[in-house]
Symmetry: C2
Subunit: 91 residues, 2 copies
């Protein structure tokens, strides 16, 4: 990732909150914004990317989509595997 790349981490809020965050990062000068999510939030990350490019910023392109597996700790200190996604948008 480049130094000026923006990043938006997707949580459990409504998609529009994150759409606004992505649009704001592009408007404040980022040429590249990464939308990142883990687990069930992955579906929302795809929604956010699609809403941004279909309804808000016409000339934004999906440059790369990467999926991976991250190891996280449960409350009981056990390791669990969680899927992750990184959607790279570029203007």
């Amino acid at each position: 990732m480049g130094d000026n790349d923006g990043v938006v981490f997707i949580g459990s809020k409504p998609p529009m909150n994150y759409v606004l965050a992505v649009v704001t990062q592009f408007h404040s000068g980022s040429k590249v914004v990464h939308i990142k999510a883990r687990g069930k939030a992955i579906s929302r990350a795809v929604d956010v990317a699609e809403i941004v490019r279909n309804r808000f910023i016409e000339n934004v392109k999906i440059m790369k989509i990467e999926i991976s597996t991250e190891v996280m700790k449960t409350e009981n200190d056990e390791d669990i595997n969680v899927s992750a996604i990184d959607i790279e948008l570029s203007k």
Copy 2:
């Protein structure tokens, strides 16, 4: 998509059901298998792809990941936009 490409549509069953379907398609001769999902099942599609390549078929690669928006009809005949994913695995 090529004629011999396999396709697995992800629904709401446990991920292992779909992992088995993907592995079976590779074992029956497919060189390429597409994992497709819409809406909330997108997260599960990523889980399935990750489990297949990390635990079942070592030499499988993610060739392409595409996201898109599909228009679907609700029960009340209204159009709604639904995000979709297509993960292309190749052996």
